[in-house]
């Protein structure tokens, strides 16, 4: 028996905010804790995922939840759908109570959803979520993220008095739904705007190196852009602009520390930046949601985590970026309404030399 669809409101709505007004609510039969929780990650081998795993481990030790989790197991299966499905099924077989996962594909989980429901296991996809409303999921709103980037860029351009020109859009991994949603959001806003904007789009795969190269190529070919809206690989955008001697323009991007460092450093020279990112800390909220569901609380089917926005106006060293820490790590990790308070440095700077 899976969750029952009930009517809202759900528990702790500041933290578990329903995605929209018509989001369904789920309720599972309450189980006796503490619970066994498994995290089934896909690919490992970039900083975001590593940070996510570390956050999960750190959060499981957090006093707020420590007593409720008796066992936490984390595996990474690579970009291999059968392996990920297999791992989820294995954990169901092993009798885990909740399974948190970043899906390698937005589809194809029908079987494990069915098995999870049969065995009263709470399955919580987050970050890369599923195209289904049969499971509880946790994510940030990618469409809105795209819109906010574009709106910010337009606002900054208007402030400079620019109403037409060339905008460079840097896209992420082709075929990925996150890439699709963010891009739709971005383009919607520019189209809706009255100005005459020429959009040039290049594919950066969310990878710094690739992004840097394609942005450099685009600059070499198109000369100058009035703003850059990048989905990821933001460090690469900055490097390419810098190397080409491109004047600083409004830039929208992710939440890498290096990118925020650059905004802080160059905003006076014209690098008016906005940084919104997908946080590795989502895992903590997914874990918290899973535990809350196991306790029998009413939960929204789709939980929207607020977008962690920072612009050049509100960057503050040591608070939402760290000038002495590496470029690669992702800055936003705390979600105060949820009681998730694991700051970036706390997990990324376990080595003494990095902590001041």
């Amino acid at each position: 028996a899976g969750p029952e669809t009930v009517s809202g409101p759900g528990v702790n709505p500041e933290c578990f905010a329903p995605w929209s007004a018509d989001t369904k609510f789920f309720q599972w039969e309450a189980k006796e804790g503490p619970y066994r929780v498994a995290i089934v990650n896909g690919f490992v081998g970039n900083t975001w995922r590593i940070q996510m795993i570390k956050t999960a481990k750190a959060y499981a030790e957090d006093p707020a939840i420590k007593d409720k989790i008796s066992e936490l197991k984390v595996v990474s299966t690579g970009t291999d759908a059968p392996a990920q499905l297999g791992a989820i099924e294995d954990f169901i077989n092993q009798g885990f109570d909740a399974i948190v996962t970043i899906a390698v594909s937005p589809d194809g989980f029908d079987r494990v959803i069915r098995l999870a429901d049969r065995n009263n296991v709470v399955l919580v996809p987050f970050d890369n979520v599923l195209d289904t409303d049969k499971v509880m999921q946790v994510n940030e709103d990618q469409l809105t993220m795209g819109r906010m980037w574009a709106e910010f860029a337009l606002e900054e351009l208007k402030a400079k008095g620019v109403t037409s020109g060339k905008i460079l859009e840097v896209r992420g991994l082709p075929g990925n739904s996150v890439d699709r949603d963010r891009s739709i959001g971005i383009n919607e806003v520019f189209e809706a705007d009255g100005g005459d904007w020429e959009m040039v789009s290049v594919v950066g795969n969310w990878d710094d190196g690739t992004t840097q190269k394609v942005v450099a190529d685009a600059i070499a070919v198109h000369g100058q852009f009035d703003a850059v809206v990048g989905q990821g690989g933001s460090n690469g955008v900055i490097q390419a602009l810098k190397d080409a001697g491109h004047p600083w323009v409004p830039v929208a991007g992710e939440s890498e520390n290096g990118y925020r460092k650059a905004i802080a450093q160059y905003s006076d020279e014209g690098l008016k930046g906005i940084s919104i990112g997908q946080s590795p800390g989502l895992v903590a909220i997914a874990m918290k949601a899973a535990v809350s569901a196991l306790e029998g609380n009413v939960m929204p089917q789709l939980i929207s985590v607020p977008l962690p926005v920072a612009t050049y106006k509100d960057l503050e060293d040591g608070k939402n970026f760290w000038s002495d820490l590496p470029d690669n790590f992702f800055t936003v990790n705390e979600f105060p309404p949820c009681g998730v308070n694991i700051s970036g440095p706390a997990i990324m700077a376990q080595d003494e030399s990095d902590v001041n």
Binding site: G45, K54, P174, V200, V202, D208, V221, H222, Q239, Q350
Partner: protein
């Protein structure tokens, strides 16, 4: 069958010709859409060569290994590991550390392939996985420094007389490889071993050390590319080498090196690398969707190899 000089040069000529075709096609595109021809400007070309140097250097190392009839699938994470450890160490020692990582990985590969005689296809794949695991574990343990040192920045980004320093590095690597391949016993031994290892061994060539040497060269080249790439991005990061493996193999093969070893000229690899870089760049400029890009990529490789001339049929 007679392999004449012209036959050896054929791939080189055809690949060069194709480079021109790519540039022209790109220019037609930009002329028709924007009315400009930036692809033919020295600025664009130098920039392509600058970023192409990372691939070119990887391909140079890969070629040594392919000449032996082997392959080095560990290049992506050798590159990454070299760059990441170098930036983590930082300072003066960064560059030597990177090179040491490259040499160590090359020796490990060489040991597995030459002494344990495990197929390179599988051993280097294993080494690649191990290196990735090491880098994940390293980042997982603490946050290593990832900022490129000034020397790395200089090598990758600065210009001397308007020419990117990275190009000088690529040129130096190229000269080094050419001298090794054509003018040293080691180089000739690579060809001999790649052509028929048993006969080379019975000729008194220390084939195991030759194999080891080629893998060390490959690791070394990957580490140099890692240093440059870290300098170019101003930092090292997980997965930075992922984009280099298949293009490096393609560059070597499009340059006319025989995938089973024993035959090939370095100039071909050089041109092959430039071809791949320009092809990618032009496709990106044309905003070609991924699907079209992959299909064009595959078709170009097949078409060019068909034009190079088909292999001899084996009858004896």
């Amino acid at each position: 069958m007679r392999i004449s000089v012209s036959n050896e040069n054929k791939p080189i000529l055809i690949a060069s010709f194709f480079i021109v075709v790519i540039l022209l096609a790109g220019t037609v595109y930009t002329l028709s859409t924007a009315g400009t021809a930036p692809l033919l400007s020295p600025k664009y070309l130098l920039q392509q060569l600058q970023t192409g140097s990372f691939l070119g250097i990887c391909a140079a190392g890969m070629m040594m290994v392919i000449l032996l009839g082997h392959i080095d699938l560990s290049i992506p994470w050798t590159l990454t590991a070299a760059a990441m450890t170098a930036t983590a160490v930082g300072g003066e020692m960064a560059l030597p550390t990177a090179l040491a990582v490259g040499i160590a990985v090359g020796m490990l590969n060489g040991f597995g392939v030459a002494f344990l005689r495990i197929p390179s296809m599988i051993f280097t794949l294993g080494v690649d996985t191990v290196l990735r695991g090491l880098m994940v574990a390293q980042t997982g343990g603490f946050a290593p420094q990832d900022t490129a040192t000034p020397l790395m920045l200089f090598l990758a980004k600065d210009r001397i007389l308007g020419i990117p320093v990275a190009l000088f590095v690529w040129a130096a690597v190229s000269v080094f490889v050419i001298v090794i391949l054509t003018r040293t016993g080691f180089g000739r031994s690579i060809y001999a071993t790649g052509s028929r290892e048993g006969a080379a061994y019975l000729s008194g060539i220390r084939t195991r050390f030759v194999t080891m040497g080629a893998f060390v060269m490959s690791g070394l080249c990957a580490s140099v590319a890692g240093v440059l790439l870290a300098g170019y991005s101003a930092k090292a990061y997980q997965g930075m080498g992922n984009a280099f493996l298949l293009p490096a193999i393609a560059a070597v093969v499009l340059g006319g090196t025989h995938i089973l070893g024993g035959r090939g000229r370095y100039i071909g690899t050089l041109i092959g690398a430039i071809l791949i870089v320009l092809l990618n760049s032009v496709l990106s400029i044309m905003q070609m969707p991924e699907a079209g890009r992959q299909i064009i990529y595959g078709t170009v490789i097949i078409a060019m190899l068909l034009v190079y001339g088909r292999n001899q049929r084996i009858t004896s």
